[in-house]
Symmetry: C3
Subunit: 138 residues, 3 copies
């Protein structure tokens, strides 16, 4: 079973989508299996990280912005502005797809793991993530 | 169903393998499911990125080559030449496996997403990628 | 079928878990399919890399430690000490989940590929990895 999630975004940042994904898992009624997330873009990505401390996530973003700054003279591709090429590079360094086991009807995330959509562009308004559920009722 | 793709390469670069993967998906006749790509090497990797603008891909390669240059005095492992250790590091920072949902009998890639084999060595001539298809006809 | 592996660790480093994973695959008696590994933490990650040369793995670790040093003034999140934020960043740059095809009853790893748990903290004593097996006997 595959479901398309349309996720609103407002500028760069980490958007917690754990609850939205959990809802799809609940509706699928799969006891034992695997879900896979896939982002349909080349300038946004997926991340499973710290769900409690917002400062940890802010540090991740600031570290990434320092490693991949805008206006680097290396870039030749700037069709869509100074955040275009950094967005592709940040996507390259993180995940386009992620899989999480389903056990006892729920995602087997660790205590501190949240699922995030990472928006790397300034002006996009929504993104699509596909949630693919494999498995059965054991 | 698992199929092994043998892919010719000539030196470093991003090789578009979307068409080769699509061919396997078409032959599998799976309507709804998931495919997973796996590269059987530690000095080549997989990437889903911008399929239209070649300059964007060239920027990705040049950015990566600057972050992970050859002849870095940090390296102690040089058994196979100056491109040996950079190839392992670039592989570490990108993907060894990638999953893409199958919907309506086709890969649910976004409009601008292509699938690439990223060759990190100068002198390899071919690489193996396994395409694993899971799912059924719904 | 999902199995939880509890893996002992002693400080930072790459721990070869290939044999432990192979044991679970053998017990699952799946001929053709896919296994997926998932690490239930945000400060440890998964890596498939060079299984023969220990110097190659040491170079990977030293390169990563140079890119993501402790005590970087950028970090604001230091709740659990100077290795806290670097561990999150290293996890972000590597994999939380990895998939490997099963062919002929065995993982289709390349000759030089080993599976590693990468511990990024100094003082953790054990970590959990879930091994998810999908497929059947063909």
């Amino acid at each position: 079973m595959n479901a398309i999630l349309t996720l609103p975004v407002v500028g760069q940042g980490l958007y917690d989508i754990t609850r939205r994904v959990r809802q799809i898992v609940d509706e699928a009624h799969v006891t034992e299996g695997l879900i896979t997330l896939f982002v349909r873009h080349t300038s946004a990505s997926l991340l499973i990280q710290e769900n409690a401390a917002p400062e940890a996530r802010e540090d991740l973003e600031r570290w990434m912005n320092r490693l991949v700054p805008e206006n680097d003279p290396l870039y030749t591709h700037n069709d869509e502005g100074p955040d275009d090429m950094p967005a592709h590079i940040k996507s390259m360094l993180t995940a386009v797809s992620l899989s999480i086991p389903l056990m006892g009807g729920a995602m087997a995330l660790g205590t501190w793991q949240g699922i995030f959509l990472w928006e790397h562009r300034h002006s996009r308004r929504s993104r699509e993530v596909i949630v693919s559920v494999l498995g059965g009722r054991e």
